[in-house]
Amino acid sequence: MNGIHDMGGMHGMGPIEYDKREPVFHEPWEGRAWALVRAMGRWTRPKNFRYEIESIPATEYLRMSYYERFIFLLTARLKRSNLVTAAELETGRAEPGAPKPTQTPSAPVAGDAANIDVAARPPRFKVGQHVRARNINPVGHTRLPRYVRGKRGTITRDHGAFGFQDTDVNGDPLSRKPQHVYTVRFAAQELWGEDARQRDSVYLDLWDDHLERI
C-alpha cells in the first residue's frame, strides 16, 4: 500500500534526533511491551505483522512511538481473536468466569524457514542483468518501495529463494511459492535525477515479482 510507512525519499520529517547515550529501553514499559509482543507471537496468528502496522492511520502512525505501535497491534489482535475483552484490558483483570484461552499451534507463514526451498521457482534474472522495478501500486503489503518503481537497476546478487512477503488487501500472501530475492543496484541519478551524485547508489532486495526485463 502507498502508506506513510513507505518513507524513502520524502522530505519534511524534520531533523534526526540523536541521543548518544540512548538506553535499549527508554522506560520500563517499553521493555515489557517488547517482551509481550515477542512472547505472545504464538497466541495471535498474524496474517502479516508489518501490514497491520502499515494499516495504522497515517496521522497515528507518525504520532506513535515504535513500541506504542506494537502494543496497539497486539491489543487489537487479542481483542479480534476474542482472547481478551476491552473491559479486561481496562482493568488488567480477567473477567469472572472467563474461560482460560487454549493455544492452537500456528501454521507457518510465508517467509518462515520451513517454507523456503520448497518447490522454489528458478530465478528469472541473473547477476549483471539490467532490470526495471515494476510500476505497481498494490493496496496490500509490498516490499517494493514507491521510490524505485519504474526505475532501472542492475542485479548484483542472487540470494536464492525466499517466501514472497507481498500480500493482498486481506493480508494473505500473494504467492505461497518461494521466489528468488536479488540485490538490485539503482544509481542515485536514476532515482533522484541529475542533481544526485553520479557514483552514488541505493541497493534494495527485491523478489522476482517486483522486477521486469528491459
Binding site: R63, T91, D200, L206
Partner: protein, 239 residues
C-alpha cells in the same frame, strides 16, 4: 498523579497491587464491567499503565509468565547488542581469513562467534574503505540485524532517517557529523527483504599494536550502521 473521580478504585493503585500478586487477586471491581470500547482510541492516554494492565491480564489468564518476559527483557538489555557486532568486526580486522569468510558468507562467519537467530538469519556484511562508504537503512519499517547490533536506536527507527537516508545520504551523514570526501562512493542499503546488513568499518590508523579485545572496544554501533567511522578516542574507548 492522574485522578479519576468517578472510579471507586484508582486504577494506578489497583495495578500496583496487581503486579505484586496477580494470583492472589479475586474478581472485585465493579467498573470492570463498564462498557468500554477503545477501538477508536488509537493512542492510549497512559501507555505505561496499559502495558502493565495487559501484562497482568495475560499472566492471570495463563497466556504468558512473568519470568519469560523478564528473560526477554534481560536478553535484549544485556546479551544482544552492538558488543556482539564489535567482536565480529575486531575478528575481521585481525584475521584475514575470517574477514574473507565474513564478506562471502556473513551468516556462517558470524555464527562462528556464536551469534545468530531472529533478524540475523540472512546476514550480509559490507566493507567500508577509502573509496566506498556503506550506509544501512530500512525505509519501510525498521529492519535491523538484532543478533549483532541489538534493537535499533530511536534515530534509526525515526521518520527523518528513514525518509532521507536514500535521497540525501551525505546530508544525513553530515547531521551525524560525518563529512565524506567528494570522491568517495556512497552506497545506501535499504533492507527491504529478509537480508540484514552489517557494515564492516575501516580499522583506524594507530591501532596496529592493539589486541582483538582492545579493537572490539573501539567499535561503535554507529560505525556498524554506517553513520560514523571508528576512531581512537583520547583516553579510552566508547560505545
Amino acid at each position: 498523579m492522574e485522578k479519576s473521580g468517578k472510579r471507586p478504585l484508582d486504577r494506578r493503585e489497583f495495578l500496583k497491587g496487581a503486579t505484586v500478586s496477580t494470583a492472589a487477586l479475586a474478581p472485585q471491581t465493579a467498573n470492570a464491567q463498564e462498557p468500554h470500547d477503545h477501538d477508536h482510541q488509537v493512542v492510549p492516554s497512559d501507555i505505561a499503565l496499559r502495558v502493565k494492565a495487559l501484562e497482568s491480564l495475560l499472566i492471570e489468564k495463563g497466556m504468558v509468565d512473568r519470568e519469560a518476559l523478564d528473560a526477554i527483557v534481560d536478553t535484549y538489555e544485556t546479551k544482544i547488542g552492538p558488543r556482539n557486532g564489535a567482536r565480529v568486526v575486531a575478528r575481521a580486522w585481525v584475521d584475514a581469513a575470517y574477514k574473507k569468510r565474513l564478506l562471502t558468507n556473513a551468516t556462517s562467519a558470524i555464527a562462528e562467534l556464536g551469534y545468530g537467530g531472529a533478524q540475523g538469519e540472512h546476514m550480509v556484511v559490507l566493507e567500508n574503505g577509502p573509496k566506498v562508504h556503506n550506509l544501512v537503512v530500512c525505509t519501510l519499517c525498521s529492519c535491523y540485524p538484532w543478533p549483532v547490533l541489538g534493537l535499533p536506536p530511536m534515530w534509526y527507527k525515526s521518520a527523518p532517517y528513514r525518509s532521507r537516508a536514500v535521497i540525501d545520504p551525505r546530508g544525513v551523514l553530515r547531521e551525524f557529523r560525518l563529512e565524506l570526501p567528494e570522491d568517495i562512493e556512497v552506497r545506501v542499503w535499504d533492507s527491504t527483504a529478509d537480508l540484514r546488513y552489517l557494515v564492516l568499518p575501516e580499522r583506524p590508523p594507530g591501532t596496529e599494536g592493539m589486541t582483538e579485545d582492545e579493537l572490539a572496544a573501539l567499535v561503535t554501533r554507529d560505525s556498524m550502521v554506517g553513520i560514523a567511522k571508528v576512531t581512537v578516542p583520547q583516553g579510552g574507548s566508547r560505545l
